[in-house]
C-alpha cells in the first residue's frame, strides 16, 4: 500500500514541468537558439521583417511535407515519393486551368486545378498504402516506385515542357499575404496544428502510434492496421500534392523535372530532427515544424553568409548530425 502511494508521488514529480527542463532534454531547442544567435550576430539584416517573410515562405513547403512524413514515419514507414508527387500535382494544375475549359471558366478552372491534383496525389498515396498494407511491400521500396516513375508520369503529361502562366487567383496559394506574412506560412501552421490535434486527441492518432509501435499487437487489439496505414500514406501524399501546388503557384511556372527535387530528404531530415524515430511509434508533429524551421534556417544561414555550395554541404551535414544527436540524447 505504502509503495503505491509513493509511486504516485513519483509520478507527480516526473510530471513536474520544472524538473523537466535540462540541457539534455531540450537539445534541439538549444541548437535552434544557437543558430539564431549566430545569425543575429553575423548575418546582415537578420532581424528584419523581410527576413522572416522570406524564411516563412521558403519553409512552408518543407513543413507541410514534413508533417505528412512524420505520420508515415510513425507507422514505421517512410515516403520517398513525396517529391515526385509534388511534381505530379504541380504539373497537373496548370494543365487544368490553362486548358480551354479552364480558360472558359476561370473560377471553376482554378478550383478544379486545386482539387484534381490533390485527388491525384491522394491516389498516389493510396497506391503506396495498398502496396505497403496489403502486399507487405517494405515502405522504402513501395514508395521508390513512384519516386522513380511519378516524375516521369508528370513529364510525360507535360511532354517535359516548362509551363508558365499568369493566374493571380491560383498564384495566391504561393504569393498571397495575410497580416503581412505569406499565405502558405499560415497554411502550414494550420495544417500542423490540425494534425497535432489529430494525433493527440483522436482515435486515428492513437491507432497510428499503436500500429507504429507494435503492429501485431495493435492488430490483435482490434486496430484496423491496414486502414490506418493506407490513410497515413494518403495524407502524406495529399500534403505533398498541396506543397507541389504551392511551389507552382510561387513560381508562376511548373517544371515537372524540378518541382520537389530532393524534397524527401529535407522532409525526412526535418521529421527526424523534430523528434520522429524511424522505428515508428512517435508522431511529434510540432517537432516536425521545428525541424523544418531548423533546416530552413541552416540553409538560410549558409547562403546569406556566402558559404560556397560545396562547403555548405559539409557544414549542413555536420549540423544535421549534431541536431539529431542532441535530439537522441534528450530522449534517452
Amino acid at each position: 500500500m505504502s509503495r503505491e502511494r509513493s509511486s504516485a508521488e513519483r509520478g507527480v514529480l516526473l510530471q513536474n514541468p520544472l524538473s523537466g527542463i535540462s540541457l539534455r532534454r531540450h537539445g534541439g531547442l538549444i541548437a535552434l537558439a544557437l543558430l539564431l544567435l549566430f545569425n543575429i550576430v553575423f548575418t546582415r539584416n537578420f532581424l528584419h521583417m523581410q527576413t522572416l517573410f522570406v524564411n516563412v515562405s521558403q519553409v512552408a513547403t518543407i513543413a507541410i511535407v514534413a508533417v505528412g512524413m512524420t505520420l508515415v514515419i510513425a507507422t514505421r514507414g517512410v515516403d520517398l515519393s513525396v517529391g515526385a508527387v509534388m511534381a505530379l500535382a504541380g504539373a497537373l494544375a496548370p494543365l487544368i486551368f490553362m486548358s480551354s475549359f479552364g480558360r472558359a471558366n476561370p473560377g471553376l478552372g482554378v478550383a478544379l486545378a486545386i482539387i484534381v491534383p490533390l485527388l491525384v496525389a491522394a491516389a498516389c498515396g493510396l497506391f503506396n498504402g495498398v502496396l505497403v498494407a496489403f502486399l507487405n511491400v517494405q515502405p522504402i521500396i513501395a514508395t521508390l516506385i513512384l519516386f522513380i516513375s511519378g516524375r516521369g508520369i508528370a513529364l510525360v503529361l507535360t511532354n517535359g515542357n516548362l509551363q508558365t502562366f499568369s493566374n493571380p487567383i491560383f498564384s495566391f496559394l504561393g504569393t498571397g499575404r495575410i497580416l503581412g506574412l505569406p499565405f502558405q506560412g499560415w497554411l502550414a501552421l494550420a495544417i500542423a496544428l490540425f494534425f497535432a490535434w489529430l494525433v493527440a486527441r483522436t482515435l486515428y492518432g492513437r491507432y497510428l502510434l499503436a500500429v507504429g509501435g507494435n503492429e501485431t499487437a495493435a492488430g490483435l487489439a482490434g486496430v484496423p492496421v491496414r486502414t490506418v496505414k493506407i490513410a497515413t500514406y494518403v495524407i502524406s501524399a495529399s500534403l505533398a500534392g498541396l506543397a507541389g501546388l504551392i511551389v507552382v503557384a510561387i513560381n508562376s511556372a511548373s517544371d515537372a523535372a524540378r518541382i520537389g527535387n530532393l524534397m524527401e530528404l529535407d522532409a525526412i531530415a526535418a521529421a527526424v530532427v523534430g523528434g520522429a524515430v524511424l522505428s515508428g511509434g512517435r508522431a511529434p508533429i510540432l517537432g516536425a515544424i521545428f525541424g523544418a524551421v531548423f533546416i530552413q534556417l541552416v540553409r538560410y544561414t549558409l547562403l546569406a553568409n556566402g558559404f560556397s555550395d560545396e562547403v555548405a554541404l559539409i557544414i549542413k551535414a555536420a549540423i544535421i548530425v549534431f541536431a539529431v544527436y542532441l535530439q537522441q540524447a534528450s530522449r534517452e
Binding site: 528584419h48 522570406v54 517535359g160 513560381n251 508562376s252 511556372a253 517544371d255 524540378r258
Partner: protein
Amino acid sequence: LAQGLPPLEQKDRYKVGFAQTESNNPWRIAETKSFQDVAGSCNWDLVYTDAAGSAAKQVSDVESMIAQGVDAIFLAPREEKPLVPAVMRAKAAGIPVFLVDRSVDPAVAKAGQDYVTFLGSDFVDQGKRAAEWLIENFKGDKGVIIELEGTTGSSPANDRKKGFDERIAQDDRFEIVASQSGDFARDAGRQVTETLLQAHPDMNVIYAHNDEMAIGAIQALEVAGKKPGEDVTIVSIDGTRDALQAIIDGKMGVTVESSPFFGPLACDTLKRYAAGEEIEPWVKVEDRIFTKENAAEHIDEAY
C-alpha cells in the same frame, strides 16, 4: 581523309545515335526535340539514349549504340573528361563520332583524329559576352553583382562563371558580392535570390548562368518590392521565350543565346562528312545576343 577517322559511306538512310546527357531542363528538351525532328527530314533512324545526368551511364549508352551497329554517333558529353573512353571506343569500332554542345578533353582526344568535329558554342565566351554587355550598358557608378551559378561543378557553370568573372574583373566599377548555386532551376534561383537580397540589399546587378534562374530572380525581386530592370540589371544566358518576354517587358537586360537547335546543323555536317568533305575541327554555332532591340523579332523562334 584525316588520320584514323572512320569513314562513313554515303547512304540514303543512316542509323544515327544521339546520346543525350539528361532531360531535366527546357534547354535539353529543346535539343532532343531538334534531333528528333531532323531525324525525319534527314532520313535517320535515330537511336536515342538518355544518361540521366551520369557520365558513366552515357559511356555505357554509347557502348550499347556501338553494339547495335549505328552508322554515326552524336554525343552531347556530360563532362569533358569522362566521355573520352566513349569517343575512343566508337572510333575503335569504326563509328564516326560528332560531339554536340560540349567537347571532350582536348588533351586526350582530338577533333579530326578521334572524333569528327565539335558542333557547339563556347560557354566561356557566353559568360564573357554577358559581362561585356554589362560593362557597356551599365549606367550607375558602382555595380554590385550577385551571381547565380548553375549546378555546382558542372562544366557550363564553371565556364560561364570563368568567362564572366574574368571579364568583369577588368572593370573596377563592378564587384561580385555573392556567388551561389541556383542549380539552373527557377525555384532555386528564386530562393537563393530572396536570401541574398536580404544579405546584400545594395546589390544592383544579377548575373544568372541561365534564364530559368534569372526568371526566378525577377520573381524574388518583385516580391521584395524591387523593380527588375530599373533597380536591378539582370543579365543571363540561353535565350528562352520567357527571358525574351522579360526583356521586352523591360525586366531583364540581356540574354546571350545558347542555341539548343543542333538538329539541322548535325544533319548538314553528317552529309558533308559522308561526302568526303574535310570538316573543320569546331563547327561554331553563332550565338546571338538578345536585347531590347531585337527580342521582339526573335521571340517566336525561342523555345
